[in-house]
Symmetry: C2
Subunit: 280 residues, 2 copies
């Protein structure tokens, strides 16, 4: 049981966590910290949170579980203040989409003031964002990746693992750099490709976009994602993203070469189809 | 009112046409032509079709409306026999995903024996295929592109337009080569890209595919499409596809360049997001 849960950033993820925690009565008290008060009013009215504040010090005071749920770049700039203001017994985690830089910053801060923390990333994205898009069951069946390192105490990973599992998530652990390569491949690459698909087709003469049907729309749904959030994700994971982009480009070139070899093309498309159908 | 509708190829599209025509009582008689009898049995049993045959001559005899609904390459090889066997008063159309080569072949055949025909393409794809995936309402709200040329009599386009509109579709007309560039952009390119995404990520070390979430799955749903069908589509539209691939590659490279320019990247992602959200 959490005494006081502090959620910093009450958007899609932070908001859904607050909803899920309240629905399951996993915390006595929930406080949300936002940049402005107005967007927090709906959360207060709904009874999902007990307190709302724009003052980080007030929000973190006496919180024994702190969830940092702002977009990645904001999160990084918040960390020094969080480290100064968190209660000494607080357990701290985050939902940042890239982990290596963030965890490195947290470990550097922990050299000055030891705090119990582990990086986390619930793989529950959506092209929607904000409190209004939140759902109490958002984490049901979702994979949450924790990124402990050699200096993370086991009990901290355990506490945060229990937290996410109690919201219905499946929790796995991997080092921050491995996490960043994984999400570069299954999340950041497809997003960049979807943005490129929309922009490329929009730029062709004859307005072909007017004829986009379900296939195009599904393939590019994620290109409707929040630009500020994705700018930060792309920028903080540029290196891993570039590697996966290279792999993607080679594969695409290989497929294009097969366009002059009918039988080999069909065999390869069949192989790929099998992989796609085998996804969990 | 159609006297006798012949559907050659009772897969997803042909089957759905038969279902829609029967449900709306638009034809007195529906006959299906297939390669093998077994898959036609279900259609006969359901009462959607009145006759089933593997003999093209028998299937086309006395049909006044002929819909060719086999995959593209099969379709091309069928055309000479269709031209020989169709009744002189038949109106002929098809659902082939690429049109330039097909229409050229039909016009060559029409020099020998004049027949009333116009190319068509209902933009109602699915990663599923076959009669079992068919739906009576598949064409509701769907765009059907007709590809008349300078030698197509207006009454033929009119008949075929009426046919599709009576199944709930929105019909537009454009020349075959324009059609092929349009579908290369909004359909063939995204399919090839989806296949490449799956293959590229599957080839990376560390099995990142195990962490694929909704974003990746939506973006690659079309990579589960039928390999034989898509091999034919890619091969018959190679030229237009290559042009759109070049445009896609340039756009992707441009986006990658913006990864070193935060503000310009966000502005561009925002612009693209707006385009994606503006899709009909």
């Amino acid at each position: 049981m959490i005494r006081r849960l502090a959620v910093v950033g009450l958007g899609l993820l932070g908001g859904s966590v607050a909803m899920a925690v309240r629905a399951r009565a996993l915390a006595k008290e929930i406080v949300a910290v936002g940049r402005r008060m107005a967007p927090l009013a709906a959360a207060l009215d709904s009874g999902v949170i007990d307190h709302a504040t724009t003052d980080l010090a007030e929000g973190l005071r006496e919180a024994d579980f702190i969830l940092l749920a702002t977009p990645v770049a904001t999160l990084e700039s918040l960390l020094p203040a969080v480290w100064r203001l968190a209660a000494p017994d607080a357990v701290l985690t985050d939902v940042g989409s890239t982990k290596q830089r963030l965890v490195r910053t947290m470990e550097r801060l922990a050299l000055g003031r030891p705090l119990a923390f582990v990086g986390g990333h619930p793989m529950a994205g959506s092209e929607q964002s904000g409190w209004a898009a939140g759902r109490e069951d958002l984490f049901q069946g979702v994979t949450v990746i924790l990124t402990p390192t050699g200096v993370t105490p086991e009990w901290v990973s355990g506490r945060v693992r229990d937290f996410w599992e109690s919201l219905g998530a499946r929790v796995v652990a991997m080092p921050p750099d491995v996490h960043d390569r994984v999400v570069a491949a299954v999340s950041h690459l497809p997003h960049l490709v979807a943005y490129a698909l929309v922009a490329a087709v929009a730029g062709l003469e004859g307005s072909p976009l007017a004829y986009a049907a379900r296939g195009f729309k599904d393939a590019t749904r994620i290109a409707a994602s929040d630009a500020r959030v994705w700018r930060e994700i792309f920028l903080t994971n540029r290196e891993a993203l570039s590697e996966t982009l290279d792999a993607f480009r080679s594969t695409l070139a290989e497929l294009e070469r097969l366009l002059s070899a009918g039988d080999a093309l069909e065999a390869e498309l069949n192989r790929i189809r099998g992989i796609r159908e085998g996804l969990p």
